[in-house]
Point group: C2
Chain length 527, copies 2
């Protein structure tokens, strides 16, 4: 049952006066539930509880935090099909996507639980004392990662499970030892409430301190602003638009005590298709590319919005083949009427620029919130001169840039904003001739892909999901994979500290049996 209330810690509260409803984008109607936005007092209370909880939660043993994370996963599964149905109702996604995204969310929670049990993520580093060193003795020094404090997580629109209430940001922050306050994304508040109920249930089962998790509702910017500006909040995770992410980054940077914001923002994920690949395999790549553009109605951060090739017959042929593929894919539903409207407006803005032509477009009538996938084209010179053409259009959209030559193609890459990914499609024989292109692309992206597509973000330690600004607000961190935990921790040193008072990770006998760097050597041996 959806209550429409805020979780302030484990309490369901609705003391506010503003209410809100979500949309069913498939049916284009309002959903039945009425949500009450968090009142200023509820926001304050959630933060105060999180701060109190931090003092306790940060000291819990790794195994206890791991059980909590696994238990959240269990409780989410326990919600069964009812959760998937609500997800579909609020997102317009179909059940298959709901299931796979839930699977990813569960996998993320369990990955962080495993990371906690394995223990090397703490980067425990020990330099033992050298009392007889001259001219001065060396003191014993031991360092490990410790949590920052309460973290605010902004749910994303396009991942109602995997990057929202109990998604990657929440899982990594809880793993770090930071209480989490979620600002539920306003497009899927019922989904958020159900997932939050699972988190709260797990927290109760594991006797977590009240306030280790809260889930607040707010449709405008008041809630987010209040959270980010609050002195007890110590870090922020966000997935969404450049404007939204930058606004939060600015708020956080301008605080008396600035705090880190990890915002994963826009990206057009350039794909470079090299001449031999175009000549030999254009049909194959056209099909693959069409699939990547339209996957999830194009609503992925890693959706390829820009294809760069050298102009000529082969690129023309590829464009025709891409058009054939694009036009036979059945359109699908977008997340919200406003997202559909933004898609249409963004696409038309680009289409209306000088020199832009339409390569492919699904032309038949669709349901109101369904997106008509579109591929446009322009020459390289025009693209270089008109910055509007590199704006992201969120949805199933891409622009093919026909470059005069390799120099122009490289110049375009060098002028691009930072991106999550860059892709090279090539025959093996030719790739070594394109050092300059690859090097330029590497400089602008967080992940480089060979003969594949950027969509489909594997959750593993080697994944980098982030990149130079504005792909993310700080390219030194990732939002996906266990290293995402590094956003919420700081290194901390103990000097000459009594062994029995050290955290277990740093004690001589290594009771956690974890890998540590002791006098510059990685070992799990005791000291």
């Amino acid at each position: 049952m959806i209550t429409g209330k805020n979780y302030v810690g484990s309490q369901l509260l609705a003391g506010g006066t503003k209410t809100y409803k979500t949309i069913n984008p498939q049916w284009n109607i309002e959903n039945p539930w009425t949500f009450t936005e968090a009142s200023p007092e509820e926001i304050e209370q959630a933060i105060a509880l999180a701060d109190d909880a931090f003092k306790i939660y940060k000291n819990y043993p790794a195994a206890k935090k791991a059980s909590f994370l696994n238990s959240i996963a269990d409780e989410i599964l326990e919600l069964g099909d009812a959760l998937l149905e609500i997800y579909c109702t609020e997102s317009g996604f179909l059940k298959g996507r709901a299931e796979s995204e839930r699977g990813r969310t569960i996998f993320q929670l369990r990955s962080f639980a495993n990371m906690l049990l394995e223990g090397s993520w703490l980067e425990a580093t020990i330099d033992t004392a050298i009392p007889d060193r001259t001219p001065l003795p060396k003191e014993d020094l031991r360092k490990m990662l410790v949590p920052l404090g309460p973290v605010v997580v902004f749910g994303s629109s396009n991942f109602p499970f995997a990057f929202s209430t109990a998604g990657g940001d929440t899982a990594s922050a809880l793993a770090a030892g930071c209480p989490v306050i979620v600002k539920s994304h306003s497009m899927h508040i019922a989904t958020g409430e159900m997932v939050a109920s699972a988190v709260i249930k797990a927290a109760k089962k594991h006797q977590m301190p009240e306030g280790v998790f809260s889930n607040l509702i707010g449709s405008g910017t008041t809630l987010g602003t209040s959270l980010v500006k609050h002195p007890l909040v110590k870090a922020v995770g966000f997935t969404g638009s450049i404007n939204g992410g930058r606004a939060l980054f600015d708020l956080a940077s301008q605080r008396p005590e600035p705090i880190p914001v990890f915002a994963e923002m826009g990206s057009i994920n350039p794909v470079v298709i090299l001449p031999e690949a175009l000549e030999k395999n254009s049909k194959k790549w056209a099909a693959v590319y069409a699939g990547s553009i339209t996957l999830g109605t194009g609503q992925f951060c890693t959706n390829p919005g820009l294809l760069l090739g050298i102009k000529g017959e082969n690129l023309d042929q590829f464009s025709k083949e891409l058009a054939d593929e694009i036009e036979k894919i059945a359109p699908s539903c977008m997340l919200h009427p406003s997202i559909k409207a933004d898609f249409n407006n963004g696409r038309e803005k680009i289409r209306s620029q000088n020199g832009v032509t339409t390569v492919a477009e699904y032309k038949e009538e669709t349901a109101p919130n369904y997106a008509q996938q579109t591929v446009l084209s322009v020459d390289g010179k025009t693209f270089l001169e008109n910055t509007v053409l590199s704006h992201e259009v969120f949805g199933p959209f891409s622009i093919i840039v026909q470059c005069e030559n390799l120099e122009e193609l490289t110049a375009i890459i060098n002028k691009l904003d930072g991106q999550l990914t860059g892709t090279i499609i090539a025959e093996s024989a030719e790739i070594s001739n394109y050092d300059t292109v690859i090097s330029a692309l590497q400089n602008r992206v967080g992940r480089l892909i060979f003969n594949g597509v950027p969509t489909g973000v594997e959750v593993c330690a080697s994944m980098l999901h982030g990149g130079p600004y504005p792909a993310s607000s700080d390219s030194r961190f990732t939002a996906v994979g266990i290293h995402a935990v590094k956003r919420w921790v700081r290194p901390f040193s103990y000097q000459n500290w009594p062994d029995e008072l050290l955290p277990e990770a740093l004690q001589n006998k290594n009771p956690l049996n974890i890998n540590r760097t002791v006098n510059d050597v990685i070992t799990n041996k005791p000291i």
Copy 2:
């Protein structure tokens, strides 16, 4: 010979119109050299060269970068006593300090060279493909750290060697693969020029790309502002005042493309002396504390400016003993007349507050730039109510806060700004009774010290030199030890990338023979 010019890459240029002179603080006179501040064209040229150099330097093998760093160390030593003399002339420090700081600088450069050769700092992480995974195959993913781009380093006033021209920030950035542009600290430009000449000599010997290092002169804020705002600059390192560091942080955050600033700023490094230690060992700790306050004329970021104890006879006794120690230490020279003036003003501002009394002060006449070390005292309630009393006074200064009880002491810690260090002085038997105090202190600092003093920052992997704001602008990084390199790098992923085109660190056969995390296991084995 001091030329008074800027190093724009390897060229000595002085096209500017503004000139500047440094001071000999011991003699309180101007030094003979005339320095020409960098012109706007020279600034632009240094940055453009750094950007060009980045494209080449980032791809150099680790061994080549390591040789360059070791060669910088060799060339600094090669400058011999002439360098130490110039250092003393511009800083007011004596030769012993010059030698030990040079030793630290050399050690830092060689530590980063060793780190490069050892290779695990790259955090090479590999997840191999699982082509037959269902429902979707897993792609091969490989991640490592890559450099951000040109880094600007602001020389510090109080470490003319170790945190200036070729100090920790420069060494870590060059190790990362980032070209460096130094803004020479205006108090020791001749020292900076000599050290820069060593870097340039090493760069030439090792055929480094022109612009891998520049050293620019500027006395006001124009040079720093131009550097931090320039779109080709990708990160900033700074050691100095809160006002200075925050101004740079704000400039960098407000750029169209924000860039990271690691600013190591003020700290009063609270020391808590617990009751039994006061009772049993007050005389010993008074001597140790007096030494720490006055070391280097108190001009360390880690100088202990605040001592917290429970009021009573034992604390009174400690204060008397501290006074005896303080008054018998001969005063020493500060770095600059302006630093001496700031010291006097800061001390008098605190002394003039209600309830503040003088515990100890060196009273005899001194040379003009010599500091009269001073210890003041105030009760806990007054300290809590008056924020002026927790302002840093840079120099040999400390304030003893006589707390009513443990609650008041803890309340004071909780209200403190972020600090580099916190120290607990205690008898072993009593420390386990003070969990709350220790936990509160841990939350406010970057390094916790037991029965020692915060001065004397060991350069090793377990050191954390940084801390919650304003101790540093980002508590997630350290300025000291090899992990300081993490400020200048970002993780980068290759997906399905051909083995022969991967960087050596990620190739199957592991040609660098480094430790890597392969499918979640640390190993140096090939794949």
